[in-house]
Amino acid sequence: MRLEKCWFCSSTIYPGHGIQFVRNDAKIFRFCRSKCHKNFKMKRNPRKVKWTKAYRRLHGKDMTQDSTFEFERKRNKPERYDRNLAENTLKAIKKIDKVRVDREARHHAMRMKGKKAMERKEAAKELEQSIHMVKAPAALQQEASLTLPKIKVKVSQEQSQENRMEE
């Protein structure tokens, strides 16, 4: 039994799933489900299809180089069964998975780092510039409580802007 990788989306194919397609040049394409198979038949390039691992790795959304990936190489020599070795391997798999998941989470956090600050800045800018879409500038002028101190100054500017627009 061997766990293969889907050619299109790079997910693991467990036994009993998927279709193998053998091309006449003897290249074997394995697919995990019909979604990937149909995309392949449509001749789509997995590097351009957003939800595949190939795209994510190419565009830096997921980790590309890491030492935890070295443990998952394809080995063609079967190992003689040794109970201790099997036990240790199982324990190691669990630990390596945990390490890899942690590293991926850190990579994701690094990617999303400046997001909160940027969101706040954008929101403030939107408030400044487009408050006239929500409340009319005349209303803002009358009710002093409704305006932020900054905007009180800006209202006159926007009125002149409106006059320009009316022209």
């Binding site: 009993g16 193998q20 053998v22 006449n24 003897a26 149909k38």
Partner: protein, 165 residues
Amino acid sequence: MAASSASKLFRAGRSLLGGLKDPNGSIGMSKDLPRSYLFSQQQRTFIQMRTNLKVVDNSGAKRVMCIQALKGKRGARLGDMIVASVKEAQPGGKVKKGQVVYGVVVRAAMQRGRSDGSEIKFDDNAVVLVNKQGEPIGTRVFGPVPHELRKKKHVKILSLAEHIA
């Protein structure tokens, strides 16, 4: 026209009986969906009478048309033996045009289930010409072959093959 559409429906009906996947044959699809879908929604069926197959050995034949599938009510699949008539042959080969020969299907576009639950399918329909005992007439086989042939006792073909899928 009526005959061809009738045979198409017949084949679709056969595939329904065969319990294959989605019963929407290519007939219904062509009306609703765009042209590109016709490529992906092709129903791959059995190898039956009048099926053209490619010959992938050096016996001299190029194209062969199936006359009879020797096993299976609905048609031959990957690894089965068929009776065929040679439609196109190379001038100096062991078989001539119009000759009736036996063949073993080594590549089929219809997927075949494997014992581990996965399915395998090839790009085209190809056959290797054999004699009645199952021994190949030619001395070389081109292209990949499946290892379903081992179970069907076509070991000679496997030994001649250049790639076993």
